[in-house]
Symmetry: C2
Subunit: 253 residues, 2 copies
């Protein structure tokens, strides 16, 4: 009913055209937050397409957060309260490469020890877990672009005990040798202390962007790593374009 006057642009697959047509109604304020969009069978009839096609279009908008669906009630334009933007975290080498910079990896230290009773290791891996601790830094065009401190769980990845990580970065090595089933990221800003400042070659007390990543396989923590970037570098989190095509992503130094 009402004006299901959709204007499909004839570009690309049908479900994409329908998705964009609905997104256009929303971003054009014709359908406000809370507004009930036409039922699936109404669109099906109005557009002369199968219900599966309409369903696919709307479901894409649901995962984009623009539509909320309720059985028996209908589908509604969501309140735009949050922004979900994809943050793509590349390996340091891939990031340097993407920026056209020359890349070099430097191992700073490597040691094996059990997780003691400190917050950094015991809480995350469990007391007594065998760990290898690695400090390294990644250079782009001869300048430090990132310094990392990492712990790897040897109970889960015993092969890491035989790797010296002198030529290959632990992150890249893990990606080749170990799958993960779950990852968590925490972002914060901090003042670089003596060690970190020296590794990044910035003034002590200078701001620094830290991404902490914890990776699991099943219930076991594979690795925990602090990725530290000089404060003047910027991370492009991502672009979200519900109208034109969905989610894009790039990266800047």
């Amino acid at each position: 009913m009402a004006d299901a006057s959709f204007e499909l642009d004839g570009q690309g697959p049908l479900y994409e055209q329908i998705r964009k047509a609905i997104a256009r109604k929303i971003t054009g304020r014709e359908w406000r937050p809370g507004h009930r969009i036409p039922f699936e069978n109404e669109m099906t009839a109005a557009l002369g397409v199968s219900r599966m096609t309409v369903n696919r279009a709307i479901n894409a908008l649901v995962s984009d957060g623009l539509i909320v669906r309720r059985r028996k009630a209908g589908s509604f334009v969501a309140e735009q309260s949050t922004l979900d933007a994809p943050l793509t975290i590349l390996t340091a080498e891939a990031e340097a490469c993407a920026n056209g910079a020359t890349y070099r990896y430097e191992l700073l230290s490597r040691s094996v020890s059990p997780a003691i009773r400190d917050a950094m290791t015991a809480d995350r891996f469990g007391p007594g877990t065998s760990l290898v601790c690695i400090e390294a830094r990644h250079m782009a065009n001869g300048q430090p672009m990132m310094a990392e401190r990492r712990w790897i769980n040897l109970d889960v990845v015993p092969a890491a005990a035989n790797e010296d990580f002198k030529t290959i970065a632990p992150g890249a090595w893990l990606l080749k040798h170990m799958p993960w089933s779950e990852a968590e990221h925490v972002i914060s800003a901090l003042a670089a202390d003596g060690d970190l400042a020296r590794h990044l070659e910035i003034a002590s007390g200078a701001p620094c962007l830290r991404i902490e990543r914890r990776t699991w396989i099943g219930d076991a923590t594979i690795t925990f790593v602090e990725l530290n970037y000089p404060g003047d570098s910027k991370k492009l989190v991502g672009r979200f374009q519900p109208l034109t095509g969905g989610r894009g992503n790039e990266k800047r130094s």
Copy 2:
């Protein structure tokens, strides 16, 4: 062929069971990166389901980045080179609320002026654009949790000229009055300068996490905002769980 010995767990929709079964093969290292997974018609036959169902399961894994598909060649386990984590950026009020904190909004300054030839405004909005500039801060439990500096394009949102923003935060106001079609986020760390440090009530030179957000409607920039958080606060970017269910997301102070 080969071992398409899938073990569906009987939990939830068929396409979800199939998706999890494939994800299990991958995270369990049975199917390594580069490995060709069974063709759709093979799985269809092996599982006794419709091809659309298999297709839906695999497509979900494609958007999770675990599978790459090539016509005529087949579907392959992707190289796990990047991590895509969804970062949910709530309004300050929603974030405080989620942490069970009392929330208060404070307008610090408001002014109207055209975009001059400075990098902050003219580059983003175009020279001469009428802008309203707002400085404000958001308090959680009486402590500054975030200070923002924002420019709003009056050519696009003329109603903003009549709003004093004394009681409602500009972010919340915009969400109610203006849709966006595209958003971009940039994260960086910086040392708080005099003004910012005073607003956040932190020492001058203390680290600070900044999220810059630029929002578009069509080709026009609606607003550009700097969200500044004290460096000791942490942003939980999100959890990505390809095996169990997909993407989760929370937030910490």
